[in-house]
Symmetry: C2
Subunit: 301 residues, 2 copies
């Protein structure tokens, strides 16, 4: 299926398009987008909408792009904000450079998810990298990003990138053993299409595909809201990865209460002219509030 053929811009004169507006636009402040999810019950974050630029339904999820009043263009999957032009640097730079600056001269990198291309843009800053595989399940995300977020999708233009549209779980199972220096899992939440990316068998596949001393970094939810999920992931990873397992955090204003990442194996190195990431904030990202340290350290074997 070529998802590009499904791309439709809602025309303002089209009554049907207006009537078909998803619940996230109508159940809340009129003219605003509100993000609500069972992942963060009892709270919502809302952005004022200037114009809906795209609405589509892929084989996997609802895809929306809108122009916000104060955060630039916004990409929404299944009602959840994935990136805004204003703050995407915080997420993309941190999830990429935390792992890649933790090992010397990464050469072969695998990105699971990340269909907007932002992680690719950041991986491409590393001159040691020779080959980047990306496995994204939803081609519509790639197409929409190329159309509406050229400064993010620029990552796809790097000649080292090999884009595969498919299931990341299956891709990893078939990957050659010990073939990657780094795996970056840029997934959505553990409900919906990304669910398996938070489960033990997936991490076992990652461990198999990594070379000894390789590093994995994955989106690992918020320490304010999802300590139970984080506890399970850390526990699984301590079983599977024989090096260190750490939880790190960053500040992404439009994500619900900070998302975090964790990482296996690290050192320290700075890189390039970036907006957000630097070597100091690399180290700072691993300094956790005491309530989180207590839970995460309790999983140390």
């Amino acid at each position: 299926m070529d998802a590009v053929t499904d791309l439709k811009r809602p025309r303002e004169e089209d009554d049907n398009a207006a009537a078909a507006k998803p619940a996230c636009f109508s159940s809340v402040i009129p003219g605003w987008f509100s993000e609500m999810s069972p992942m963060w019950p009892g709270e919502a974050h809302s952005l004022k909408v200037e114009k809906v630029l795209f609405q589509g339904k892929s084989d996997y999820q609802d895809v929306i792009v809108f122009q916000s009043a104060t955060y630039g263009k916004v990409l929404v999957l299944d009602g959840v904000i994935q990136l805004t032009e204003r703050d995407e640097c915080a997420y993309q730079e941190m999830i990429t450079h935390l792992p890649l600056c933790s090992i010397p001269n990464p050469k072969k990198v695998l990105v699971i998810g990340g269909g907007d291309g932002g992680v690719l843009r950041e991986v491409a800053r590393h001159p040691s990298v020779e080959h980047i595989d990306m496995c994204e399940i939803d081609k519509m995300v790639v197409d929409v990003s190329k159309q509406f977020f050229p400064n993010v999708a620029i990552g796809f233009e790097d000649p080292r990138v090999n884009l595969v549209i498919g299931d990341g779980v299956a891709f990893l199972k078939n990957a050659a053993q010990g073939s990657y220096d780094a795996v970056i899992v840029d997934s959505s939440d553990p409900i919906g299409p990304a669910k398996e990316l938070f489960e033990k068998p997936f991490f076992q596949s990652v461990a198999r595909a990594l070379r000894p001393g390789g590093v994995v970094c994955t989106q690992a939810e918020s320490l304010w809201l999802h300590m139970d999920i984080i506890e399970d992931i850390v526990s699984n990873c301590r079983d599977i990865f024989k090096g260190s397992v750490n939880y790190a955090w960053t500040s992404v204003p439009t994500y619900p209460r900070h998302w975090g990442y964790w990482i296996y194996a690290l050192s320290s190195k700075s890189n390039g002219p970036l907006k957000f990431y630097n070597s100091e904030i690399h180290s700072a990202a691993f300094c956790l509030p005491s309530f989180a340290t207590k839970v995460i350290e309790s999983k140390a074997t």
Copy 2:
């Protein structure tokens, strides 16, 4: 005026109380509280309301307390969340221990604002402290906190505390020169009653009241949203304080996009069994994203 006499619990059977609900409850998701402000245009954060526990109007501001679905009890001043039971530890611990752990043996501390008592609770953990003056402009905030947030207002019970209900700007002007080891400014936003606490004359008064080598820490808004305000404050403070001026941040989920603090003079020391603060996160709080470092360093003289 004794604000306690104004305390009214809205009775559910009282139609007038329902009709008098402030705009933040009615203009948004029915049954939810939404925080909107010209300080963060185009975005809103909403919490599901279980029950409104208190609504009052003091001489200075609207005061609301509600039971939220997932963040415990919430204190709201002029439509802006000041604290929730779930995450107040992050704010109170950081704004207090960042400055007090930066100087050896603080003895005399002044808190401007902070009428909920949480900063007092944290200051009281420091055994070297002999005397704590607090100047809060709004007695209703103190009374409401004592009634609904006993674990926060516990700070008022410390015998070293001298509570003054009055204007912090005037209080500081009359303070003896060089009399405080530390001043903590726990204010609301620079619109409304706290406006003057962000202006140069106020910081000049703070500098006068501090002993040489003393430290000030103040709420200094979000580096994602208010870089212009932060730039002004840093610039003013570099003029006034002859030691170091730093900007630090922390994560408070229910504050719009992280608030930050800055601080004058620092070292490093850990303290007590806390939920959030530790010596590592003390240092990490001063590691800023590159875009913020660029602006703040440009003010270095």
